[in-house]
Symmetry: C2
Subunit: 299 residues, 2 copies
């Protein structure tokens, strides 16, 4: 099968209780594609500026990621700055410089248009809509979003949602979007708006996946040291969709295991700053941690 990932490629400036990093490589599609690359050969749709380092491009290629959909525009790469406290679920966005992303018109290479799985990262819902207009009968469409679009473009967002199979959101976003304080009720109400599955991310408390007739929960890996929570949600989506692309199935058991592999990838990425942890990660470590996730909840 094949997986197309649309989202940002960025520079991130990150401050956590474990240190500060200036302009390191980040972005939702970077994290998502890297996590997925351990399971399949994902294709990225995004844009970078002239300042984006060649070594980073080389690293993504080494990981088997298809970069035909990665445009280089004149100008600077998207830059995002954030600060985290001791509670990794709480973060403060200090700065968002869209730069080349501001005028980004996603345009899918012809060979991307027949992808089996499409992931619409947390970009502007109108851009997400444009992507959907270009794809030809994907088997599975997944989307993510952020508070910004819930607050400013909720109608466009809900229109996209009607067309997707899986909605990824964190607890706060889902409660904000549905105005429902009970997470289970909130998630179920989203199932009536289009998606067949809702993956509700709760950070250090794990993930709940709701289907029309099942609920599945994954506990987060008991981490003693969260160095940098950036990219955890995108790595979750990457592991999740990369696994589905690998096993070529969307049945309940595949979705359950996808949620665990997503959680495994998220648990690794937060162990170091930025995408660093993915540089020396082996599939053996992924399998080992998958078994730890199993042992964690066995009774």
């Amino acid at each position: 099968m094949s997986l197309v990932i649309v989202g940002s490629v960025a520079f991130d400036t990150i401050e956590t209780p474990h240190g500060r990093r200036e302009k390191i490589v980040g972005g939702s599609s970077t994290y998502c594609a890297l996590a997925a690359s351990f399971f399949t050969q994902p294709k990225i749709v995004s844009v970078i500026g002239e300042d984006f380092p060649e070594e980073a491009i080389d690293f993504l290629k080494e990981k088997g990621i298809d970069l035909k959909g990665l445009k280089k525009s004149s100008g600077k790469t998207f830059h995002w700055e954030a600060r985290y406290g001791h509670d990794p679920n709480q973060r403060k966005t200090v700065k968002t410089e869209l730069n080349v992303f501001e005028v980004f018109k996603p345009d899918l290479p012809v060979e991307y248009r027949r992808a089996d799985i499409i992931f619409l990262g947390n970009i502007d819902p109108d851009q997400q809509e444009e992507i959907l207009a270009q794809v030809e009968h994907p088997k599975l469409i997944a989307m993510d979003t952020i508070n910004l679009w819930i607050n400013t473009k909720v109608d466009s967002l809900l229109k996209v949602m009607e067309k997707v199979d899986i909605f990824f959101g964190n607890e706060e976003e889902i409660k904000l979007l549905t105005k429902e304080p009970n997470l289970i009720k909130a998630g179920k109400s989203l199932l009536e708006r289009g998606p067949s599955f809702v993956a509700m991310k709760k950070g250090e408390h794990g993930v709940l996946v709701l289907g029309k007739d099942f609920v599945f929960g994954v506990l987060a890996h008991p981490c003693e040291k969260v160095v940098d929570p950036t990219g955890a949600g995108d790595s979750f989506a990457g592991g999740f969709l990369g696994y589905l692309d690998k096993v070529k199935s969307f049945d309940e058991i595949a979705l359950r295991r996808a949620a665990v592999f997503g959680s495994v990838m998220a648990s690794f990425v937060i162990e170091d700053f930025g995408i660093q942890r993915f540089k020396n990660l082996s599939y053996l470590e992924i399998e080992k941690r998958y078994n730890q996730f199993k042992n964690l909840v066995s009774f």
Copy 2:
């Protein structure tokens, strides 16, 4: 085996988004013993005032709870008032009238002193110490506490902790007690202070049990309606210890299942105000929900 539960029997005035109840029967040992009564015949050590209703006593007896250790003193029963918002993990204590509990000297009936399992509810750590001075070689001692004692009597609390096998605490209490923002690290540091196991309650996010060489996590039942969160923690302890008393084992698999049965009992009690849900609960429902807990995390 046998299980002795020391804690409050009380009147609670509760306000939640689902309503308000004035002076209904509550108290930590009431919830704990009722939850345990589905697995074993627990014995209560507590005190009530002259105003405590005979029907409530009859109900506890009907449930097979041994009340030889329940003293009646002249004066009023302990009264606690609390208010909950939409987030069931957040509560505000409005009033605490200790009444007869203020001068309570726990005195164990002779036949209680050889109990196999002792649960020290969240009473004053000096009272917990007095209980321990009266027991004869219990197989397992468990304790709970509240922020009040962490803030005012931490030395006494830590002295009791040295002697116990299981410490029950919620996330907030454990972080406050250890001054460690990472829950796993916080829990591990408690394992160095006496207990062999720490059960860390995270409300709607479930429970983590740490042992010297394992971590076990239970996801909370995905409740759509939390009517009244009061007693969830005590019902967890009751189900946990009641199950251990029933199966006469403290090995890892018994502890894992105990944590699930504890979570099952907590998931029931919050479905209605006070102890109401325990009045019509059957063991068949408990088994059914236990299997739902299993299905929730299976992959």
